[in-house]
């Protein structure tokens, strides 16, 4: 019984934890501009993140080594440092976007300008990292994030023409109001939002934090294989709401306040309240995960003591580095840089940097020295290599598409 509860809790937190500011914004933008015609990318991204999380979780549980320890060992200091630099920079950008997202959500609740909320949001993120136990932190954020299910409910309440939505989703075509380069630019962005690298740093370091062993692998696999696809459905619902309400009105999403309007339209104030709680929980949870991930990546590369299972005094550099990251995010946001714009760039750069972490994990997951008999099975390897090609294509295509389309303008 207890085990069953554990599995249920794991799946629920995986669902609630899947969506972050990147998924929210990108899906709503795409829904409002392309209808359901880019939804197939969410499917591709979800399968990818399941594969990636499965491999990195297995590496962490079997070898006890987290992602960046492995990356440095395998790539050596020079390529490892280049990898760290790129991954850390994108992660920091994501921290900034998530903290900005918390503040924007608070503005929607209180109508107090988001810039005033930013210091409080950053402080709250730090305080939770400083004091709250890893498990509690994960479960509370994940469960509250489930409030986002209201986007799915809203989609039903809106009583859309399901045939038309399904038609857009199943036979995708570039809408007449858009051109093909912009379509593919957002395809890359949506892929990057679904497969953000921080999820993998966090997932594998979390496996070490929680002391996973081989026997926990089955449960982790269930969490991933059930939780992430259901989380992906939430993303689809967000896009669907935008496609049904905003697209016909000629509205193209550029702010968080537009994303929740369809929910209010469908379900009134109560639904809106759920959506806001869900967005707050999702951005706050992701702010915790990305901040921790920046500490994890640095500490693992340089061999510092790390982990929330230790008191801050026994992981001093780890905690200091996270404080510095939050201060940098605070500084960037204080300049008035638009958090939504930062989010849009962060998902695209996530796609650019993805091969840097994917490839080493794929190699180590096939290395019997680390993995013993738990190396990738043949089936996983076939899928993982197909995804390597997809990830490389998205990574190489991202910057040219960004330049050609003026970042999707």
């Amino acid at each position: 019984m207890k085990r069953l509860l554990g599995v249920a809790l794991g799946i629920l937190t995986a669902i609630g934890g899947f969506v972050d500011i990147g998924d929210l914004v990108t899906n709503a933008v795409v829904g409002s501009r392309f209808g359901m015609s880019l939804i197939w990318v969410v499917g591709v991204g979800v399968v990818g993140i399941c594969l990636f999380a499965d491999m990195s979780g297995r590496v962490a549980a079997v070898s006890g080594r987290a992602t960046f320890e492995v990356i440095r060992e395998r790539l050596g200091p020079r390529a490892g440092l280049a990898n760290l630099g790129a991954s850390f920079f994108i992660n920091l950008m994501t921290v900034t976007a998530e903290v900005g997202g918390i503040a924007l959500a608070l503005q929607l609740v209180t109508s107090i300008h988001y810039l005033l909320w930013i210091p409080l949001a950053a402080f709250a993120v730090w305080l939770v990292i400083w004091r709250v136990r890893f498990k509690i932190m994960e479960n509370v954020a994940g469960l509250l994030g489930l409030c986002l299910v209201v986007f799915g409910v809203a989609l039903f309440l809106l009583q859309p023409d399901w045939g038309q939505l399904a038609g857009q989703a199943l036979s995708p075509a570039v809408p007449q109001t858009e051109n093909a380069a912009v379509y593919w630019f957002y395809a890359v962005g949506l892929f990057g939002a679904a497969m953000t690298p921080y999820e993998v740093f966090f997932f594998s370091s979390g496996a070490v934090e929680e002391g996973w062993k081989r026997k926990d692998l089955i449960q982790s696999r269930i969490n991933v294989l059930a939780g992430f696809p259901l989380g992906g459905l939430l993303s689809v619902a967000i896009a669907g709401c935008a496609a049904v309400v905003l697209m016909p009105a000629g509205v193209e999403v550029t702010s968080l306040s537009q994303i929740v309007l369809p929910v209010a339209d469908a379900g009134g104030k109560l639904a809106l309240a759920f959506a806001l709680v869900g967005i707050l929980a999702a951005t706050f949870g992701a702010a915790l995960e990305t901040t921790l991930s920046s500490g994890y990546t640095l500490a693992q590369f340089f061999g510092w003591s790390w982990g929330k299972f230790r008191s801050p005094g026994r992981a001093a550099r780890f905690h200091l580095s996270m404080i510095v990251c939050l201060l940098v995010a605070l500084g960037v946001l204080a300049t008035g840089a638009d958090p939504i714009l930062i989010t849009e760039y962060s998902v695209v750069f996530s796609a650019v940097a993805l091969p840097l972490t994917y490839l080493p994990i794929l190699i180590v997951a096939n290395d019997p020295q680390y993995m013993g008999s738990d190396v990738n099975s043949r089936g996983i390897n076939v899928a993982a290599n197909v995804y390597l090609l997809i990830i490389l294509a998205a990574s190489l295509g991202a910057i040219p598409l960004m330049i050609v389309t003026g970042a999707g303008a």
């Binding site: 109001t177 193209e252 806001l276």
Partner: protein
């Protein structure tokens, strides 16, 4: 350039119409609607400034620019009315059924129609 600005303006006005409509039907509260209107005021200003920064090449283009800019200015005025009405509602506890609100809704609807017409004429510029 003009097409991009029309697109952006049309999106902002469409959002404002929707937000005011939700307020009138009591489906969303003042904080969410107020934030929407504030964000959209920023969008309209962006659109107008973006257009002012570009230099039209031909006389026909110059005429078009002037036309779009005046449409955007009208949209900003309509949005201003809506924000005033919202502020009045907030401070006096009015319902959403005051003359001020109805005037704002009418002005925004007219703006939406005007920008939609321009959008159909110019395309999205993509």
């Amino acid at each position: 350039m003009a097409a991009t600005a029309v697109n952006q303006g049309s999106s902002a006005v469409g959002t404002s119409v929707l937000a005011l409509d939700l307020l009138a039907r009591e489906r969303a509260g003042t904080p969410a609607v107020g934030t929407s209107l504030e964000d959209m005021a920023g969008e309209l200003e962006d659109a107008r400034k973006g257009l002012l920064d570009s230099v039209p090449a031909t006389a026909a283009e110059r005429g078009l620019h002037r036309e779009v800019i005046s449409a955007l200015v009208r949209a900003e005025a309509a949005l201003g009315l809506a924000r005033q009405a919202l502020a009045a509602k907030d401070s006096r506890g009015d319902t959403a059924d005051t003359p001020g609100f109805r005037a704002a809704q009418t002005a925004l609807a007219a703006s939406a129609k005007e920008l939609k017409g321009l959008r159909q004429r110019l395309g999205t510029g993509r």
